[in-house]
């Protein structure tokens, strides 16, 4: 059977849900089910929280605290959805990679290593950038931009953190490969 080129939407869905291998009709059906449940939760949460926090915001004097609570609640809801998606995707085995023979297995392991290395570099750069922006915004020590970039302690801390994340990512990917 000829493989058709994946659309941007399919690529996006695969990336968000972490789907590996063939994205066939069974996987599409499972993704739709999981996505609908997540959407219903988010819809209910957003409509309820909007009304509740609007009432609080109008009636309260400390508006800053209310907005902070709203932001925190949004963060929690976001992580609940991420956690829920990860559990359901893993339970439906949508994240499994199938290897057809030994050569295929070796190839998949190599791909995982490459992805882990790229992931480590990406994680380091993104985290470093975020910490740099936060430090620049809240610059109490009045350090210069260059000294913040080349700060050895920060770089070492984030490098070690990225390496740990990269190794964990590699082992997670290895565990998903099914012989």
């Amino acid at each position: 059977m000829k493989k058709s080129k994946e659309s941007f939407y399919t690529k996006l869905v695969r990336r968000i849900y972490g789907i590996q291998g063939e994205f066939d009709e069974y996987k599409q059906q499972q993704v739709n089910k999981i996505g609908n449940k997540a959407f219903i939760f988010l819809f209910e949460y957003l409509s309820t929280s909007m009304i509740i926090f609007s009432i609080f915001l109008v009636s309260s004097i400390n508006k800053e605290l209310i907005l902070l609570c709203y932001l925190l609640c949004n963060f929690i809801a976001f992580f609940i959805v991420i956690f829920y998606l990860a559990i359901l995707v893993s339970k439906s085995k949508l994240d499994r990679v199938e290897s057809y023979d030994n050569d295929d297995y070796i190839n998949l392991v190599k791909k995982s290593k490459k992805k882990a290395i790229l992931g480590t570099i990406g994680f380091f750069l993104v985290e470093r950038l975020i910490s740099l922006i936060l430090e620049l915004v809240d610059n109490t020590s009045k350090s210069s931009f260059i000294s913040l970039i080349i700060s050895p302690i920060d770089n070492i801390i984030w490098l070690v953190g990225s390496l740990i994340a990269g190794i964990a990512f590699y082992f997670i990917m290895l565990s998903r490969i099914k012989k």
Partner: protein, 63 residues
């Protein structure tokens, strides 16, 4: 839905991974179809029947 996909596949000497690759689905999906735990679309049924050189009646009709 019960079917004869596994029976016909084994009698044709085709491995599960081979058929999955030929039809363009994952081995997991084919396994679910064979066990009757997933009802494939008509399009997929036709693809499976073609890959096994069989027909829809012999594979899926009232097993």
């Amino acid at each position: 839905m019960n079917n004869k996909v596994k029976l016909v596949r084994i009698s044709s000497g085709i491995q599960q991974k081979e058929l999955a690759l030929k039809v363009g689905i994952s081995r997991q999906t084919l396994s679910l179809i064979e066990k009757g735990q997933y009802n494939p679309s008509l399009k997929l049924c036709i693809n499976i029947a073609e890959a096994l050189n069989s027909d829809l009646n012999s594979l899926f009709w009232r097993v």
